[in-house]
Symmetry: C2
Subunit: 664 residues, 2 copies
């Protein structure tokens, strides 16, 4: 197939995009029109994929990082024969409930590998997929895991800081199966890229150890040749494709308005004349559609051969491969966590929260080879490396990725690993720096990816490093995020419980936060089940008569609440302590359980070394709060707890004050 | 002064740092020991500063971006004679209330230009300072504004994405007075930089158009010569200083432990022997201290000459310069906003929220020449450029910075501008992308900088671009941040009021969020004062008897609440609507005002096209909420409002349901 023969295939993408955007009344034509030849080259000649089985584990991954160009992806999925993208789906582009949403939305069964739109996320996800592939390849061999990850990327993704984080680390790790196609159209939303960038972007990649090829992005043969070279090179490759944005719409092409300027019927008509496309809207001539559908079947032989190789695997290896693909936890895991939990009750000692989490994770190593840990240059203080070794350019069997001081990439890498499948990713850093990866955490929540975001140094307990390093508002800001579960265990017992719940949770991310300081054991009695599984529970019921006060605490403050309870009980005030390691799960419990835990009619005081924001829903109009009035300060942790009044004496006083004001 | 003569000066920094860190029991010796010669070169030969007047407007700015090395800064401030940093302050390093906090904390009167610690922020602040200098230089001339901005930077700052955003844009804008000294010690917290980076960092700067000089960072003469070259070059300069981390502590130098491994008395003693420093802890020999104090006076002549030049300015120009330095708003500004507010009441039309904000800002142009606007490649849809022109490499008089798709840099740039003084910075993008700049927003709140963070596209009103672009949790996550005011005006009248309050607010940042969609005028009556100034107010009191229901709404949902009120009133249910453009200010009001607004004993229903998180503090146990259950969806805005039940009918039904359940 020459450039001439391929032209109608590329134009089929163009006109499906134009027709859908004209019909919707809005959309972004710049990418589908500018990258039509590049997409045609990739999908008709290079991509390994099977529309009949979109989730084929060894498919090549394709990420449209410039997600605003979503019609490019939908057109490709339609043309190659993915079932979710019939012509009616394209006709409903941007309507409620359409498979063709404004930006691509994660739906691997439909052929959408990852949600994109917020710039830079997609290429960082692709990076994570390439790491996952390399790791699984090392584990299962070329016969079972051996695929490329392709990403299309625009100028915006490469201006975002996360873009450089990805370039830098992908070069360092020499991820040779990661291939980017840069839509070098010299236009962003504001107009010419010369408004905001002067550098030679290709040189930036070369400096970081990438293989860079520069081509005319409208020359399908040249793009195809570049893809061949890219696949052969041991370095990650960036193909800089010089393109004309919105090519085909004469009024807008090559200009600012090409990005997403409104398209009219007249534009569509003019483009049809200009490109010689006499077909009606949404009509793809049979020969062109046939060529595309045949491209959609191009990997069928490879697919069958791969299936045969999997079938031929030794039974145990096959079962293991299928287990991790399905995301099923291995046998024995629950028992390990349960045994740890029991030992923690018996040991009853105090350990730094983050050390506990590291210890638990270390126990899981033999059971969870699919777990990979990324950490942003805080290996020692976050303690989640231990018996793992590093994933490097020379050793793909390591499960620990030294991400450098690149939190944002780390989070998005974890998302890419989870979206790839076969990996349980952890992303580890200090809680104060979670803001750096928050855009990626939001994407995990939106996609419902089972990423575990692990944080240490969770409060003023950080101490002398001061307010920059002391989270006070971050628990609240993460709890505000839909579909994100935030766990803050009180001790080693709850830590094991929370890890068990988080590992079981597959429909969304979990955030686990741990104290830097020692957590005394508060769960001193053996419990039959996992008490954290309901989000909150009565840790110490009131003694002597009806409960009058309920102290609700999390993490390191549970021990303080227990001490406050002792003081109140001494004064004859029947007081219970509720430990609430996970608000989100508690909120899902039935009303009767919630009322029994919170104690209807009692004075409630919440205790957390953080801001009050979000706590009032448990407190009612009679409630109190002991926590942080604002940002922290630099000083020893104990001095800070005293200074801010997060002490048993103050908790008890607050409870009494509210008892009195309610009685008054 | 030769290298040999200067050595005791550098060693004075080293031993003050060692002594303070040993005494505190923790700290980061890597930077002060590794950069002692660089700091000595800069402060004794190049920096323009005056310890007797730390806030001299035309001083050179110094930013310690690798803020964990705080003892370097404290030692410099002590040695050069800044009043806040007597030897007792150094002895209390990392104690509660010490001027020597774990990380440097913004205190310009003390000589600390900006809070640093979270990596990458400092160099981006320095970038903002350099933009501010260039703009003010263009406005007031070399005689009044003409200074350099120096930043020390470690590997971490340059691994962070924001670091590259800064490199790229500073190169593009050719900020020739921005000079970085990179502490190229090849060590990060995890160990060798080779764990996570392979690229030639200097080359990365060169690609972006920087002037790069590579020197031995322990050769004071070489560093000093590089600083001379840096100041002469029209490009921004990065001096790559090859250093040995923790140089002087033989046990740790050049190694991972050099960063912050615990120092003992024995290390201190060994270093004293090694470097020939026989002096007691915290003792600086008189000749060395004299040399340093004399360096602290090196700019005295320049200072006096500058004062004379300012005094000689025409009166109006001098008054204007002093006004912007003091951060005082100009005469006439309030009247402009008030006139706009009155016109908006009379006009009573519906306009997109963000258009309103753009219109207001346009009116302010002649009054606020000190205002600079940064925007992350969304000039057109956010509408805050209008009569401003761009700040470019060739034209420093422009007040609009095309930041490119670099939100994080934009936010930190705004912080640097505000910290510099003489500038009122706005940072503008979509609300969904605020997460990208959140680490900078947190720093603004922590420092109490009067930055205006402006966001458009504030809810599902975004429509078809879908959930990636629809904030639902972001209002809550920003409201959770201490010292951050979040404004969400309901119409043009409130927008003018909120802008007036935000411009008056000098002790912290303000976030102003605006709808993409049209906001009908809800303030149809003239009010005597600025009703938004108390955060919330009764927009429509209940008719006919005691108020039974209070609907509390913000932004675009206020109009829906008014429609719901009409329905309820029709059914004889006395209903008030409270508009709450700023929760934080409302929370500061006295209890009587709050009770009068919220309506004691009424059923309260909050209405906001966002999550409920944080609203319960206004609702009590009888309250209801109409808003978003989670993330949004892709579809037309009106369809989304219907789909999620954010409609007058549903609001009214929710109020009735709660009335019934409370009566039941």
């Amino acid at each position: 197939m020459s450039n001439t023969e391929a032209r109608p295939l590329a134009d089929a993408i163009r006109f499906l995009a134009i027709d859908a955007i004209v019909r919707a009344g809005e959309g972004h034509q710049g990418v589908p029109l500018g990258m039509a030849e590049i997409a045609t080259a990739l999908f008709t000649r290079h991509m390994k994929f099977n529309p009949a089985d979109p989730q084929w584990p060894d498919r090549d991954r394709f990420v449209l990082s410039n997600g605003h160009g979503s019609m490019l992806l939908y057109a490709l999925l339609h043309l190659t024969g993915y079932g979710h993208f019939g012509i009616d789906a394209l006709k409903s582009f941007r309507e409620m409930g359409s498979a063709c949403a404004g930006h691509p939305e994660f739906e691997p069964a439909a052929g959408i590998e990852v949600t994109t739109g917020p710039l830079g996320q997609g290429i960082a996800n692709a990076f994570g997929m390439a790491v996952a592939e390399a790791y699984l390849n090392a584990r299962f061999g070329d016969a079972i895991v051996d695929h490329y990850t392709y990403a299309f990327v625009g100028d915006g993704c490469l201006q975002e800081g996360i873009g450089q984080e990805m370039i830098s680390l992908a070069g360092h790790l020499q991820l040779g199966k990661l291939i980017l196609c840069w839509d070098d159209n010299q236009i962003t939303d504001d107009g010419s890229t010369s408004l905001s960038i002067s550098e030679d972007v290709s040189a930036r990649f070369r400096v970081a150890g990438w293989h860079v090829i520069e081509v005319d992005g409208h020359d399908l043969e040249a793009v195809s040749a570049a893809l061949v070279m890219a696949r052969r090179d041991p370095r990650p490759t960036m193909i800089a494709c010089r393109t004309v944005i919105a090519r085909g719409i004469e009024r807008l092409q090559g200009q600012r308005g090409g990005h997403s300027g409104k398209l009219f019927d007249a534009d569509s008509a003019a483009a049809r004349r200009e490109l010689g496309w006499p077909h009606a809207p949404f009509e793809v001539p049979a020969d062109v559609l046939d060529a595309w559908r045949s491209a959609g079947r191009r990997s069928e032989d490879e697919y069958r051969a791969w299936q045969a190789r999997v079938a031929a695997l030794p039974a145990a290896e096959r079962a293991e491969f299928e287990r991790i693909q399905a995301g099923r936890l291995p046998d024995g895991l629950r028992e390990v966590l349960e045994a740890y939990r029991r030992r923690a009750v018996d040991a009853g000692d105090a350990q730094p929260g983050i050390t506990i989490s590291g210890e638990i994770n270390d126990l899981l190593v033999p059971y969870l080879p699919e777990r990979m840990v990324g950490c942003a240059d805080l290996e020692a203080p976050t303690g989640h490396k231990r018996s793992l070794h590093a994933f490097t350019a020379g050793d793909r069997s390591g499960a620990y990725v030294h991400c450098g001081v690149r939190e944002h990439l780390m989070g998005a890498m974890a998302n890419g690993m989870a979206a790839h499948g076969g990996i349980i990713p952890l992303a580890v850093t200090y809680l104060a720096f979670s803001d750096y990866e928050r855009p990626a955490m939001r994407m995990a929540a939106l996609m419902g990816l089972p990423v575990k975001f692990v944080f240490s140094h969770d409060s003023i307990g950080v101490g002398r490093n001061g307010p920059t390093h002391q989270p006070v508002e971050i628990l609240a800001s993460l709890r505000a995020m839909p579909n994100m579960r935030v766990f803050r265990p009180a001790d080693a017992v709850e830590a094991a419980e929370c890890w068990a719940v988080a590992l079981d949770h597959r429909s969304g991310p979990s955030t686990l936060v741990f104290a830097r300081q020692a957590l005394p054991t508060v769960r001193t009695m053996h419990a039959a089940g996992n008490l954290s599984r309901r989000g909150a529970y009565v840790l110490a019921e009131a003694d002597g008569g009806n409960r009058r006060v309920t102290l609700i605490a999390t993490g390191s403050e549970v021990a303080l609440a227990l001490e406050a309870r002792a003081r109140l009980q001494e004064e004859g005030i029947a007081t219970a302590v509720v430990s609430m390691p996970c608000c989100e799960i508690f909120d899902e419990q039935d009303a009767a359980y919630r009322a029994s835990v919170l104690g209807a009619g009692t004075v409630r005081v919440a205790v957390e070394a953080a801001v009050r924001f979000g706590w009032d829903r448990y407190l009612g109009e009679r409630g109190g709060f002991v926590g942080m009035p604002g940002f922290g300060a630099s000083g020893p942790a104990e001095a800070l707890y005293d200074h801010f009044g997060i002490t048993p004496a103050h908790i008890a006083a607050e409870a009494k004050r509210h008892l009195q004001s309610n009685q008054g």
